[in-house]
């Protein structure tokens, strides 16, 4: 078993689709929180085979998309500093700032390098002792433990030319903000599988206990998603409010305790701003006192003030699931993956990028 192809079986998929279409006729709104789910759902054509009463809403689970405009502009300021190397995940390159983007800065000569892993920055710092390496650390609970491990390794190896501009966010608080929003009516959530691998299923239990909303943790292969939808639609139709884990080959109820230890050692939980959604209580991570020497903002004495927005861009409403990309006047006209206006069109798992690539007029 290689844990990939088995979960893409056509015959099983067809049966699951059939089953999904025979559970309930009532109108059901389901949000898939995670951007990787959004992409998988489009890639495997799952939207095309859903029963007409099931409406899938894409949520705010794309870290690049929810990073506010002020963060992007500050990365551009940092890239202008002397003797600096900016290390970043590739998705960040094209996100437009007010005046430029990292991609444009690189073409103008700034030293900006794409990394696959935060840990790549350790060797980069060692091999460039006369430079200061700044990692743009974005990501949810899945990615944040790696930033913590990298900072701890840097401390252990006494690497003093590595810094982090962090914008790590945690997912359950933004979900709470969404379910409290009276304009949104979400009946159930497909819960983010790889965030759950770290934090477990317990942090989502407030959904069923306090809000009568069910949630199912699923994987990212087509059979995982279809089985997750079957369970979720069944729970909703029976008004059986609970959090189920259908990704047990990866996710444990208590999550990954080792990753939690790393997170707790390096970070404090702080309030954080989400693009288009606003400031959410205790929804972000910031280095604690022990690791503040690694904080790029403190090292470069940057007075960071948060602000948001590109004129006309509806990213915020899209991230909240209130409108679809096709409802935005800029979509496919002024805003394309080549010339994005908002971050949701840039990231490969942004909702607008997914719609741009896969959406057909489904009536």
């Amino acid at each position: 078993m290689k844990f990939v192809d088995e979960f893409r079986n056509n015959e099983y998929s067809r049966k699951l689709v059939e089953k999904l279409n025979n559970i309930s006729k009532e109108k059901i709104n389901i949000m898939e929180v995670c951007g990787t789910h959004t992409m998988s759902i489009f890639r495997y054509g799952i939207r095309d085979v859903l029963p007409p009463n099931v409406n899938l809403i894409s949520g705010p689970g794309c870290p690049i998309c929810v990073t506010p405009q002020s963060y992007i502009d500050t990365t551009l300021t940092l890239s202008d500093k002397e003797d600096v190397i900016i290390a970043t995940f590739g998705d960040m390159m094209k996100v437009p700032g007010k005046k430029s983007s990292l991609s444009k800065k690189k073409s103008e000569g700034a030293d900006i390098r794409i990394v696959y892993s935060p840990m790549d920055c350790l060797e980069m710092a060692v091999q460039n002792p006369s430079k200061k390496v700044i990692l743009l650390s974005v990501g949810f609970e899945t990615t944040a433990p790696m930033t913590a491990v990298t900072a701890m390794e840097a401390k252990k190896r006494n690497i003093t030319n590595l810094f982090f501009f962090t914008a790590h966010k945690i997912v359950p608080p933004v979900m709470k903000a969404l379910v409290k929003d009276k304009d949104l009516k979400i009946d159930g959530f497909l819960l983010p599988g790889h965030v759950s691998a770290i934090i477990g299923t317990k942090p989502f239990e407030f959904l069923s206990k306090d809000y009568n909303i069910s949630g199912v943790v699923t994987g990212f292969e087509p059979l995982d998603i279809l089985q997750g939808l079957i369970t979720l639609v069944s729970l909703i139709s029976k008004k059986d409010y609970k959090i189920e884990n259908e990704y047990k080959r990866i996710v444990k109820a208590d999550g990954n305790s080792k990753a939690e230890i790393y997170l707790n050692k390096a970070f404090n939980i702080v309030d954080s701003s989400w693009r288009g959604i606003g400031r959410i209580h205790k929804s972000g991570l910031e280095f604690n006192n022990e690791y503040e020497d690694f904080d790029a903002l403190k090292h470069f004495k940057i007075n960071y003030e948060e602000y948001d927005g590109s004129p006309g861009c509806k990213c915020g409403e899209i991230l909240k699931g209130k409108i679809k990309p096709t409802d935005c006047k800029l979509f496919k006209k002024l805003c394309t993956p080549e010339n994005p206006v908002g971050s949701c069109m840039v990231s490969s798992e942004g909702t607008c990028a997914a719609y741009y690539r896969y959406y057909k007029d489904i009536t």
Partner: protein, 74 residues
């Protein structure tokens, strides 16, 4: 960005290991998992193993799908 893929552990050396993902072999950091052995599968995200893949649980899930086909109702 939460994309993660399963891969087979080919060798281990302290906090690092070589993992085969599809046809690619690459170095992966193992800080976040405990008691991993060669030939086991791990889930890799951004160069780090974030969890072991539980083969028994995967088999149980596959059995549920098989049962669905065998007990065809339509």
């Amino acid at each position: 960005m939460c994309l993660a893929v399963p891969g087979k552990v080919l060798s281990l050396d302290g906090d690092k290991g070589i993992v085969e993902i599809g046809n690619i072999k690459r170095e992966v950091f193992m800080h976040l998992i405990s008691d991993v052995s060669v030939n086991e599968y791990v889930l890799v995200h951004a160069g780090c193993a974030i969890e072991k893949v539980d083969e028994e649980e995967a088999k149980i899930t596959m059995d549920i799908f098989k049962e669905l086909i065998e007990n065809e109702v339509c």
